[in-house]
């Protein structure tokens, strides 16, 4: 019997097929729709409409605000947590880490439903604080995505660097500021990208927590449900461009990191 052998490039075929069918081809569909009108003629009107309407720009602003605040809250909570988890000699720290990752194993609508009940016990009327609740919901949802990369990058931190800094007269604060923080920047960057971008579009959280204001994701959905593929695709493309820009900026950080001491995550 003939042995079946694959060379390296053949092993890539499943992924390549997937990539072409579900990533690249739809991308072309989006670009096509974004630059055409209902009759199929080429137009820039969709984009002009987007950047000249105070409503759509307002939505962009609101989404940015929501995702930036979410990211900051996540960072503030996640950094100390990841630091303690990574740096302490605590025996049970893997159990602790597991506790933070555990929520990711549970379906997120289920988690948000539970959160909804908890919040309504605390706040009484949930609808009174839509923005605040959305931030809590998003944080609840995305926190593990922030902790994990931070944890990995802090785990790799070379102890000798810290000792050297301390020997050279740095107090704890200086050591943190000069050594720990700069070396954990790749972790911060990948954590931020993993939280910032999804939280701009995850409108299910808003729906479930009674925030009736649209973010970018809900805007796309509302255009699509009104059979307006052109404007929906246009907004998807705008989002793609924003994501591309953010990645471009963040890549500069991770590139430096890859050269100097190996990739994190």
């Amino acid at each position: 019997m003939k042995k079946i052998r694959f060379n390296r490039s053949q092993l890539c075929i499943p992924y390549a097929v997937f990539l072409v069918l579900f990533v690249i081809a739809p991308l072309f569909v989006i670009v096509y729709y974004a630059f055409t009108n209902g009759e199929g003629n080429f137009t820039f009107a969709n984009f002009v409409g987007f950047f000249s309407s105070t409503n759509t720009l307002g939505t962009l602003l609101y989404s940015f605000l929501l995702s930036i605040v979410t990211t900051l809250v996540c960072l503030i909570i996640a950094y100390p947590t990841a630091y303690i988890l990574a740096r302490s000699n605590f025996k049970k720290k893997y159990v602790l880490l597991l506790l933070f990752i555990l929520p990711m194993w549970i379906n997120f609508t289920l988690r948000i439903t539970a959160l909804k009940e908890i919040l309504s016990v605390i706040e009484g009327n949930l609808a009174a604080y839509p923005f605040f609740n959305s931030v809590i919901g998003m944080t609840f949802d995305f926190l593990p995505f922030m902790i994990l990369p931070l944890y990995t990058s802090l785990l790799k931190l070379d102890n000798s660097l810290l000792e050297a800094a301390a020997d050279l007269g740095g107090n704890k604060f200086t050591v943190f500021l000069r050594i720990t923080l700069p070396l954990s920047i790749p972790g911060i960057v990948s954590g931020v990208t993993m939280v910032l971008l999804p939280s701009m579009t995850n409108y299910v959280v808003l729906d479930m927590l009674y925030n009736s204001t649209y973010i970018m994701g809900s805007l796309i959905g509302s255009y699509f449900s009104a059979y307006d593929w052109n404007n929906g695709s246009m907004i998807s493309l705008v989002l793609l461009i924003i994501i591309f820009l953010v990645t471009l900026v963040t890549n500069r950080f991770s590139d430096k990191d890859t050269n100097s001491r190996g990739a994190v995550l």
Binding site: P26, I30, N55, P130, D207, Y214, I220, S222, F224
Partner: protein, 509 residues
């Protein structure tokens, strides 16, 4: 992570591709077996598996049983019934949709169904696009046809009036109104749709996240003063509540913006549960879901009521239509599709569906078959312990002299004899005074885009509405962040440029 993100942005486009590929399946020409592709609303048919305590003690003349009981799913029962009566097999491919727009999108993306169940305005849209297959002549004349035999004269009248009758068979129907908790909200406030703007109930009332129902409610407020005039004709009422002129759309936008600030939220699917748990005290809902909510709340010992607002009530109908693309001239498919509608219209099956989903069937029965009416009496006719009884008249639906004696406590009868609020029976079969002032919502036609844009404007944060103070604060924050970044980046150049560190000279790259 980029891929992950990119994915969510283009998921819809993927569906577009996937959908058109799948659409080529099915459609075999095998004689013995025909595949019927049905697309219906979610949770809109009996799935069987009832508990023994759910058995309905109403004689079933169609199966010669003493009671009506949903043992198997309706679809399975249909397949069996079809094989017995038509001599060949049918396989039902059953799928569901969440909104009319969802269904329309799927159809326009290339999904093919033989039989679908959209609401009135979507039927009109599909009819206008010439996508709907006529029912065969003998469907409406046939002796053994349950639909033509047992459909309510009222439903028949409406369907003839709008000229749907050759193309559609009504499945369920109802009104829109407000489910409410009478202990928390007073009768006067709940009898008008203005309760959505009532400051006393700020953040305590919900409304559906749905352009059409929200726009309809907004029209009830915009045109409210004219709608409560006593001598209003049905035509004027219909015009006022189907008003899609530019100025009205603009006014509705303002009203909806105020509503957004005042209501609990535009709920997508949480309204039912929130009503039962008491998070909200009123919910603008479809009558069938209202019945469902009241049933649930009864289990929790909370008594909820249903009110149809004075100004506006939407009368809606969901009907079975066959699609030309699906049937495609295949006579067996047409026969199977008509048989499916026919089977669902058999009064015992209508009762099963009504019990299971809470909505009201279009089927009324006739002088020889009173199964549906018996079911109503079985459900609501329990008045022996009542202090006072009321003769509830549903003649308009069930034919002459159809009166149910019910506990007077489940209805709010006004001095004029009108009933505008009540419990399950009222929601399921509104009295004639309510149906008389209810209006069928027509298709928006070429104003659809404009009204959708209006809805988007309502839901989006408008930069014009942001206060100047917020702009200033935002600008200050941005400046602070940027300067902090710059400071970090150029701190050596700015502060320690000419100083040397402890014994070292700084080497610039």
């Amino acid at each position: 992570m980029i891929k992950f993100k990119r994915f969510s942005a283009i998921a819809a486009a993927c569906c577009l591709l996937g959908g058109s590929v799948i659409a080529f399946g099915g459609c075999g020409g095998v004689k013995e077996r025909v595949t019927l592709r049905v697309c219906n609303w979610e949770e809109y048919i009996d799935l069987g598996d009832w508990g023994e305590e759910e058995r309905i003690d109403v004689a079933n003349p169609f199966t010669q049983e003493e009671s009506i009981f949903g043992e198997n799913a309706m679809i399975a029962d249909f397949e069996q019934w079809f094989a017995e009566n038509y001599g060949y097999n049918v396989k039902v491919e059953y799928s569901t949709f969440g909104t009319n727009e969802d269904l329309y999108n799927r159809l326009s993306l290339g999904d093919v169904y033989d039989l679908v169940c959209p609401s009135d305005y979507m039927m009109m849209k599909l009819l206008a696009e010439d996508a709907v297959e006529k029912y065969s002549e003998n469907f409406f004349n046939g002796e053994n046809n349950y639909y033509s035999q047992y459909v309510s004269p009222y439903i028949d009248g409406v369907f003839s009036q709008y000229e749907w009758d050759e193309y559609a068979a009504c499945y369920m129907w109802g009104t829109t109104g407000l489910v409410y908790n009478p202990e928390k909200i007073n009768t006067e406030d709940i009898s008008t749709v203005k309760v959505l703007l009532n400051e006393n109930y700020k953040r305590q009332v919900t409304i559906k996240d749905n352009v059409r129902d929200s726009y309809f409610a907004a029209l009830g407020i915009v045109n409210g003063n004219e709608l409560i005039k006593p001598d209003l004709t049905a035509e004027t009422r219909s015009l006022l509540l189907n008003d899609i002129s530019e100025s009205t759309i603009a006014n509705a936008e303002d009203v909806l913006k105020q509503i957004k600030e005042n209501v609990y939220s535009f709920e997508t699917d949480s309204g039912k549960a929130d009503m039962v748990t008491g998070k909200v005290i009123a919910n603008y809902q479809w009558s069938g879901d209202a019945v469902h909510i009241m049933d649930e709340a009864d289990g929790d010992e909370t008594e909820l009521w249903y009110s149809v607002p004075q100004e506006c009530s939407n009368l809606w109908f969901d009907g079975w239509i066959m699609l030309k693309k699906g049937i495609n001239g295949n006579e067996q498919k047409r026969e199977a599709a008509e048989a499916f509608v026919n089977f669902l219209s058999r009064p015992d099956n209508a009762v099963r569906n009504m019990y299971y989903i809470g909505y009201s069937s279009s089927i009324a029965g006739d002088e020889n078959c009173s199964t549906v009416f018996d079911f109503l009496e079985y459900n609501y006719g329990d008045y022996e312990e009542a202090e006072q009884t009321f003769e509830y008249d549903v003649s308009y639906f069930f034919g002459e002299n159809s009166v149910i004696t019910v506990d007077a406590d489940c209805l709010d009868v006004e001095d004029s004899g009108e009933i505008n609020r009540g419990r399950q029976l009222f929601a399921q079969y509104p009295p004639a005074n309510v149906t008389a002032r209810s209006v069928v919502m027509l298709d928006f036609g070429d104003k659809l885009g404009q009204i959708n844009q209006m809805w988007i404007n309502v839901r989006c944060l408008d930069l014009k509405d942001v206060s100047p103070l917020a702009y200033i604060l935002g600008a200050v924050a941005v400046v602070l962040v940027v300067s902090a970044c710059l400071l970090c980046k150029f701190r050596y150049k700015l502060f320690i440029k000419n100083k040397t560190g402890k014994g070292y000279e700084r080497v610039e790259k």
